[in-house]
């Protein structure tokens, strides 16, 4: 998965587990950037009576670097608080929920938004905004879309925010990929699969019909760009921002185990989850270092660069698909560091490699989702993003419909190495390999406006 349960420790702490991060120039308002951070992954819609929610004891943050040092120049903090209306019922709702303040909605969650500038000065933008309820079912919530729409808030400072349940729009054939690297459309070419299958298979979207909890914010571009520029050219270094999200918990927690004494949470916040580019901690970082990766800031990522320069998956592809990745095997054998992957994941792509494009943040190696904010949204997004010539797609930021799994596999397979070494000829397979899924395999349709992610799957129809 992109980052669902991507490391041993965070897989046991789903409330703080970031699953996907998106950043793109907003198609519904191109003078803004939309950043979406998903948490609490893999939610079964039918999960009553205790439906999913954000952690009241977790600090959620979205960070933006505008000067390339991999440290936040702008941070948005989100804190949550759960309120119970009725202590004498076990029910989430005791009647139909028709509004965000419906008295029949028993367990509600609210959030605050705080903006922190590069100097650490913080400003509370709003102290109490309502989350929409979880999508219990159409009996309990007959007009869910309206409730979710009502939960979109426009702040006085210009940002638009939303926090609540949404349908997970990430698509991945998880069952196949982690079954020794099988891609079902190529399962009959797989080292072991070729003994089992004499035909190509059809991919399965393992994350379909599951929900997540989304924190979404739409920010005017001048607030995120270096120097507050309202207009920049695509080649201007100030056009590029780096984005990542983190979740933190207090360093000490003491459980009292009784009702006489409240639990204690004290000490500084300690980061337990981090997400920039999709799949980095998932498939690039070795298991022994995944928890460490989650605890560190992007400015420390130089220590992980060796795993990007020689990714384990690049070594596996020629073995798992015999005869299809011979050129990649030679590249691996030569031991040449993968400067293409370092650029894509750790520094951004410099000017001159792709016509009319750059999203570099300089020499500092850091896993951030880099977005050139001067590139407007495309009317017909290509799922393969930059690889398909669509400059507004991954790895220039990340849109919801981008097929980041296939893009990443093709890049690791060698298609992007030719950008940095003109003598290298990628294998034919590297240009066609894919997981076999698209946004069409997500059953909840995306919205055409903020917060873009589709209506969460309801418990009644998705038991």
């Amino acid at each position: 998965m992109s980052s669902h349960r991507e490391a041993p420790e965070i897989s046991k702490d789903p409330v703080a587990d970031s699953s996907d991060l998106y950043a793109f120039v907003s198609p519904d308002n191109p003078d803004t950037v939309t950043i979406i951070a998903n948490y609490v992954p893999l939610q079964l819609p039918a999960s009553g009576p205790n439906f999913f929610e954000f952690g009241d004891d977790v600090l959620y943050e979205i960070h933006i670097d505008s000067n390339g040092d991999a440290r936040p120049d702008l941070t948005y903090q989100f804190r949550f608080r759960t309120e119970l209306r009725n202590n004498n019922t076990f029910l989430y709702n005791t009647g139909q929920i028709d509004s965000l303040d419906d008295p029949d909605w028993n367990r509600r969650q609210f959030f605050s938004v705080t903006r922190v500038d590069a100097h650490g000065k913080s400003t509370v933008l709003h102290s109490k905004l309502p989350c929409p309820p979880c999508n219990v079912g159409r009996i309990s919530i007959p007009k869910y879309e309206k409730l979710a729409d009502d939960a979109v808030a426009k702040l006085k400072t210009g940002e638009k925010v939303f926090a609540g349940q949404r349908a997970d729009a990430f698509f991945v054939d998880l069952g196949a990929i982690f079954d020794l690297g099988v891609l079902r459309p190529f399962e009959n070419k797989h080292l072991i699969g070729q003994k089992l299958f004499n035909y190509a298979g059809k991919a399965v979207n393992a994350t379909d019909k599951l929900n997540v909890h989304t924190i979404a914010i739409q920010i005017p571009l001048n607030l995120v760009r270096r120097g507050g520029a309202k207009k920049v050219r695509e080649r201007d270094p100030g056009a590029v921002i780096g984005v990542w999200t983190t979740a933190s918990r207090r360093q000490v927690e003491v459980r009292q185990g009784d009702k006489k004494n409240n639990d204690v949470e004290v000490g500084p916040q300690v980061q337990v989850s981090r997400l920039g580019n999709p799949l980095v901690n998932e498939v690039i970082i070795p298991m022994a270092e995944k928890d460490l990766f989650n605890s560190l800031p992007p400015s420390d990522d130089k220590r992980f660069a060796k795993f990007v320069e020689k990714p384990e998956l690049a070594g596996l592809l020629p073995v798992l698909y015999p005869g299809l990745f011979d050129n990649l095997a030679k590249l691996n054998k030569a031991g040449t560091p993968r400067a293409d992957l370092v650029a894509i994941l750790l520094t951004g792509i410099p000017d001159g490699l792709i016509n009319n494009f750059q999203n570099t943040t300089g020499a500092t190696q850091a896993d951030m989702l880099r977005l050139n904010t001067a590139i407007p949204p495309t009317k017909s997004p290509q799922a393969f993003g930059l690889l398909a010539g669509d400059l507004a797609g991954f790895p220039n930021g990340r849109r919801i419909e981008d097929d980041v799994v296939s893009i990443s596999i093709r890049a690791i397979a060698g298609v992007t190495f030719a950008l940095v070494d003109g003598t290298f000829k990628p294998d034919a397979a590297a240009g066609v390999v894919e997981q076999g899924l698209s946004i069409k395999n997500v059953s909840s349709k995306l919205l055409d406006k903020f917060p873009f992610l589709g209506t969460p799957f309801d418990g009644f129809d998705n038991p």
Binding site: E9, D56, D57, Q77, R81, K128, V252, G267, P268
Partner: protein
Amino acid sequence: MGVDRNAQHPRNRKSLDGKDERPDMSRVRYGSRAVNRLSRRRVLAIAATAGVGASVAGVAGLSLAGETSGSADSAPLVISLRDAQKGTFDVFSGESKSTLTDKKLVAQLLKAVHR
């Protein structure tokens, strides 16, 4: 100063009052990697909360800035022993962590818990 849990449900955090936690976070995140690497599950050596915390302060005359007056005395305080021989320990209070050395206090604490 400390987060008073006594007056509220543990899940009804004070966080929504907009209190800035950034200065602490910045220091911990970017200034001290060792703190980041501490596992939440490993950190507790000795936990002194509410009443116990007050008696600890009384025993050694422990005086941390802003923690000795008024209602702050009842705020939770957690002590984590780092090195018994050197007498070094961490004190967690509110949103801060302080590392202190007091051999006498550590000896008294260890005696109190029969170690």
